[in-house]
Amino acid sequence: MENFEFHGPSTLDQALAAMGAAEDGKFMAGGQSLLPVMKLELAAPSDVISLAGIEALRGIEADGTTVTIGSAVTHAEVHESEAVRQAIPALADMAGGIGDPQVRNRGTIGGAVAHADPAADYPAALVGLGATVVTDRREISAEDFFQGMFDTPLEDDEIITAVRFPVPERAAYAKFANQASGYAIAGVMVASGDAGIRVAVTGAGSCVFRVTAMEEALAADFSAAALQGIAVDSGDLISEPDASAEYRAHLVSVMARRAVEACG
């Protein structure tokens, strides 16, 4: 790994100032994606600006209709949060299924969202639940945020400060995980609430996507049986040696049915 200048700001302004002064700076939250990338020298920033010490990015607030999670909140904290479990148990469960305990103890919601890995779990949760990404300068709906593989509208010096979730009437996430990494080969968040009925799929394609045919079927009859016979087009999915596009298409249908059943 190349060397760099390390910054440990305690306010957003300090972090933005450090980024402004850096030649090729990178923010770091939990480092669970950035450090592996830097070790492989796929990234070699001149400056690493840690967001971990910024109090304003921590904390979880829930008020009955929304849950707002600070960007530096770890997956373990989301998993263990009573407030999240009360309001959106599907989100607490999803966070508890990311990677492994040690990754969950460091990795953050903001980092996972900014990284926008096509096999990550949070993209399905954000799009499925109709969440909003809040940054230091604007708010972006989840659907506008995830634009492609590792592709988001974030500016290089823009900091995600929080993610705001509307509380659904019911929601559940089902994932078929890669045995080795825990990442989703296919992960489906099904939710119904003010944002309508949503079926959001991660892992299977190059970016999280919604399955309108399933959403319409569930609107008419919210049951696993209603999804019988509805499949996504494998032509749009990722194909890898350990999981072909056809296999992923099959898994999407199975995970969607499991998620609907888990909604109860």
């Binding site: 060397n3 200048e5 390390f6 440990g8 690493v48 492994d100 990754v103 460091r106």
Partner: protein, 155 residues
């Protein structure tokens, strides 16, 4: 070079390090605490697990500078040099290791589990060990050791 200070196994330590120094490099190369291992160096295997402020983390996927001001505990803290910690003793008793390379990380990982869940079920132990790879034992005896160790610790 930036200076990093932290408490490791109850002792205050401080050193000048390159910013890119990983926590595991700091522990092994600066502090000579070589019980913490580097297996894969790609955040997968868990041989490098230590505790950071009471939570298990992969020390190969953290900068030493990120642990500035923190309290770090490594495998060396468990035994007093005469008697093994009950979890270590359980691993010995139940053949929870063969080559032993992954063992420090496994033990530190499961002590985090037991601190939250004093009497974990087999399924809970298996689930928790997602981030620890052992290429010898097939996990069976590791699970037995963890449950026996937890019981011996009073769970």
């Amino acid at each position: 070079m930036p200076t990093v200070s932290m408490t490791v196994n109850g002792k205050q330590v401080s050193a000048d390090v390159e910013a890119r120094t990983l926590l595991v490099e700091f522990i092994r190369e600066h502090l000579d605490l070589t019980g913490t291992h580097v297996g894969c160096d790609t955040s997968q295997c868990g041989a490098c697990v230590v505790h950071l402020d009471g939570r298990s983390v992969k020390s190969c996927t953290m900068l030493a500078l990120e642990a500035d001001g923190a309290e770090v505990t490594t495998i060396e803290s468990l035994s007093n040099g005469v008697e093994l910690h009950p979890m270590q003793a359980a691993f010995k008793e139940h053949h929870g290791l063969q080559c032993g390379f992954c063992t420090p990380g496994v033990v530190m990982s499961v002590l985090d589990l037991v601190s939250r869940n004093p009497d974990p079920s087999e399924a809970e132990v298996r689930d928790w060990l997602e981030g620890n790879l052992c290429r010898c034992t097939g996990y069976h005896n590791i699970i037995k050791s963890v449950q026996a160790g937890a019981a011996a610790m009073g769970g």
